[in-house]
């Protein structure tokens, strides 16, 4: 049985090896399972942007981009399998869109010399490039997110949160637990009460959590949710008539799909975002060049929504890093270590974004050896249920670097000590 299956699998793997393309971008996507609502648009945006580059510009710097998709189902075991299956295809960068898989890949990819870009998720301490040589999390991370949300609440309350209470509703996983440390530090600094309310995977059952919220009546709720958990939480908040404008989700809890199921009741719900939605010219090009020619990764219905836009941003940042790397090394067909150099020298300016047809899709930032995380900026957006659109309430807000920076230094130092790493920025 085992032998027969193994032989068959061997044959299948041999047959599976595709022709080597020039620039390989593995897409560890999830189009199935309870997190598919977010996984599908992101994977579509990621693939469509590279298709656009191939069709419109003939690739990146003359080399064609090849996106290899591998279904993880948000499951770490499948994530490992996908990583091992794709890493020898010449993978340039991994963007797993899962904090759990990112944690898995950090040591593996570091040992194999392949960069990991966890854009707005993953291990926050990876911002410290001195310790995490191969891991990048620009333009913003969870601790920034927690700080930005609190900063926004401070600005709403005349710079004082003393005596207020904030509840954190979080996905009970590495992802959801990330902001806790920062929020605890911030609650000490600003004197608000913090209540932690965990929601277990996959998050369809939240009755008891919202009963607790109803009892404790927090002034504000922050949410670190993903997938089906978001929709359920917003519906439950509506059911207990929690004022939506006091309910703020992180950027993974602020897509159309999260608020649409509760209809008008979700009006006023707020969320952070680092890739604001707008009618970027690049989306029109994707519609005409990619979707118009039947080459879209999905059915085309997601083009332009929040998570799709973020997928396009992720692909754009990868493509820009490739261009930077090509500039540094003078070859079109770069490898993973050159890609890392490109990511470390990446500079995103408004002028660059304008030229790419996506002015304002991301904050400006510059990556250096010490700073793998950008400037930590995000906006606050609000859902307008009648117009069915997200409206930006603020410009880019920067995080409180006194708090976040100190925590990052402490956590990355602990990681370095645990793994016997020495700084690589000298």
């Amino acid at each position: 049985m085992k032998l027969k299956l193994a032989t068959l699998a061997l044959g299948a793997v041999m047959a599976a090896a595709p022709a080597m393309a020039d620039l390989v971008f593995p897409s560890l996507s999830y189009r199935t399972g309870p997190y598919a609502a977010g996984g599908i648009p992101f994977a579509d945006g990621y693939a469509d942007y590279f298709t656009l580059l191939n069709e419109r510009d003939g690739g990146i710097g003359g080399a064609k981009a090849n996106v290899i998709e591998c279904e993880t189902g948000f499951n770490t075991e499948k994530g490992v399998e996908c990583y091992e299956a794709t890493k020898n295809e010449g993978a340039l960068v991994y963007q797993p869109l899962s904090t759990g898989i990112t944690y898995q890949l950090i040591p593996k990819a570091s040992a194999d010399g392949i960069p990991v870009h966890s854009m707005g998720y993953g291990r926050t301490a990876a911002k410290n490039g001195d310790v995490f040589k191969w891991v990048f999390n620009y333009p913003v991370n969870y601790w920034d997110g927690a700080s930005i949300a609190v900063k926004y609440l401070l600005s709403e309350n005349g710079d004082s949160l003393a005596g207020k209470s904030i509840a954190l509703v979080y996905h009970n996983s590495a992802y959801g637990k990330e902001p806790i440390r920062t929020l605890e530090a911030l609650s000490e600094k600003h004197g608000f009460d913090l209540t932690l309310i965990a929601v277990d995977h996959p998050g369809q059952e939240q009755k008891s959590q919202w009963l607790q919220i109803r009892r404790e009546k927090p002034d504000y709720i922050l949410m670190w949710g993903w997938g089906v958990m978001n929709q359920v939480a917003i519906q439950e908040a509506a059911n207990i008539r929690f004022p939506m404008e006091n309910f703020i989700g992180v950027w993974w809890s602020g897509a159309e799909i999260d608020v649409l199921p509760s209809g008008d009741k979700s009006n006023g719900y707020k969320a952070l975002n680092f890739s604001p939605v707008a009618n970027y010219p690049v989306l029109d090009e994707i519609r005409s060049v990619v979707a118009g020619n039947g080459m879209a990764a999905g059915d085309g219905s997601n083009i332009g929504n929040v998570i799709y836009t973020r997928g396009v941003l992720a692909a754009m940042l990868a493509a820009e890093a490739v261009k930077t790397a090509q500039g540094i090394h003078g070859v079109a067909d770069i490898d993973a270590s050159m890609m890392r150099d490109g990511m470390e020298a990446l500079e995103i300016t408004e002028a660059k974004l304008e030229a790419l047809g996506m002015s304002g899709i991301a904050p400006e930032f510059t990556i250096s050896c010490e700073n793998h995380g950008g400037n930590g900026q995000a906006i606050v957006q609000q859902w307008d249920a009648s117009a069915q659109s997200w409206n930006a309430l603020t410009g880019y807000i920067s995080s409180d670097n006194d708090v976040v920076g100190g925590l990052i230094a402490a956590d990355s130092a602990a990681y370095a000590a645990e793994n016997g790493l020495e700084g690589n920025c000298n």
């Binding site: 049985m1 193994a6 299948a12 091992e84 040591p107 590495a174 637990k177 793994n419």
Partner: protein, 358 residues
């Protein structure tokens, strides 16, 4: 014709009692061992080990463990995921607390700790049976996952609640952490699988196994003929949990390297291992391997054929995989309710008679 006992004379009781009394079986077993130990380590790469061999070997240990409890002793358990988590967290705490002690001892110690926890949660089995016991062990599953999520001591107060395996070596060769060689982790798991299978096989053939089976077949009758249900059931829980703990420890430290308890050791894991045991065959060591192979390798195979070979979209292939695996499970169980092991036994019986079926 090729497969027969005739002409294979035994002159001592020891010969007659061996695990594989038929020559053909024995040579096949030696051949498998030879290939597994002497050929595969030279051929494997990271993909083969991390995507195929490690999960297969580690789930085999878990399936052997559960098979002892469910298949041999007849005590239904849905706590496998929780017990694997105990093994994983035990080995993590030991690895970080005593970095100088060899990981091999830690893995065995993790098995022992899990055995204690298993006995604790097995106590209700003295009073309740069948579905009711399944519910009691289900409580263990949820309680243990909750515990490891809730108490920061278990994950050394890390910010994310994840546990990460630091690098540990055996004879200078790293077997956990990021810088491992494919052959080293493969061999480590293979040794654990072989030892576990040998122990389990011999336990089940001896007094202890006979007591378990007596309890399984009819507990009142077993008690009347002098089997102490307390020791029989508790020893089944202990031995079973020991193996499951070892598999959990390997699953975390060698295979994944970083684990989140709710995701890696949730109720799905309990069901997965239970399905392995049922599909493979209750009360059969070979069945544990067959079941693990079926549920670990088949999805990978289907995915590689559909996505890699035929170029299907990944989501379609993923859904198709659920359908096929589900359909195959039903088909197998309808055609052969006693699992793949029984299928294998039937084949052997046929071969024994072939080419004269009467």
């Amino acid at each position: 014709m090729f497969y027969r006992e005739s002409g294979d004379f035994k002159t001592t009781y020891i010969d007659d009692d061996q695990t594989f009394p038929i020559k053909f079986d024995r040579y096949r077993y030696y051949a498998v061992m030879f290939v597994a130990f002497a050929i595969i380590p030279f051929m494997v790469n990271d993909y083969w080990v991390n995507a195929i061999f490690l999960p297969f070997l580690i789930y085999s240990i878990a399936a052997i463990g559960l098979n002892i409890l469910v298949g041999y002793c007849g005590q239904v358990s849905l706590g496998t995921g929780g017990f694997m988590a105990v093994g994983a967290y035990a080995v993590y705490k030991l690895m970080t607390a005593f970095p100088d002690v060899s990981i091999v001892f830690h893995i065995f110690a993790a098995g022992a700790i899990t055995a204690v926890v298993g006995v604790l949660f097995g106590l209700p089995s003295l009073r309740i049976k069948g579905f009711y016991l399944a519910v009691a062990t289900l409580a263990a599953q949820f309680f243990l996952v909750w515990l490891f999520n809730r108490v920061p001591w278990f994950y050394n107060y890390s910010a994310s609640g994840q546990i990460n395996a630091p690098e540990r070596t055996i004879l200078g060769e790293p077997v956990t952490g990021a810088n491992t060689d494919a052959w080293a982790v493969y061999l480590l798991c293979l040794v654990f699988v072989t030892v576990s299978a040998l122990i389990a096989r011999n336990l089940t053939r001896g007094t202890m196994g006979r007591k378990w089976m007596a309890i399984r077949d009819m507990d009142i009758a077993a008690e009347i003929i002098g089997v102490n249900p307390l020791t029989a059931k508790m020893s089944a829980f202990a031995v079973s949990s020991f193996f499951i703990g070892i598999s959990g420890a390997l699953f975390f430290s060698v295979y994944l390297g970083a684990v989140e308890v709710g995701e890696a050791f949730g109720i799905n894991k309990s069901f997965l291992v239970l399905f392995m045991v049922i599909i493979g065959g209750l009360g059969s060591i070979f069945g544990s391997f067959a079941g693990a192979a079926f549920l670990v390798l088949l999805p990978v195979l289907i995915k590689n054929v559909l996505v890699g070979g035929l170029g299907w979209p990944t989501d379609l292939a993923a859904h198709f995989e659920y359908i096929t695996v589900g359909a195959l499970i039903i088909t197998f169980l309808v055609l052969e309710p006693h699992g793949l092991a029984q299928l294998w036994r039937v084949v052997k019986e046929k071969l024994r008679l072939w080419p004269f079926p009467h």
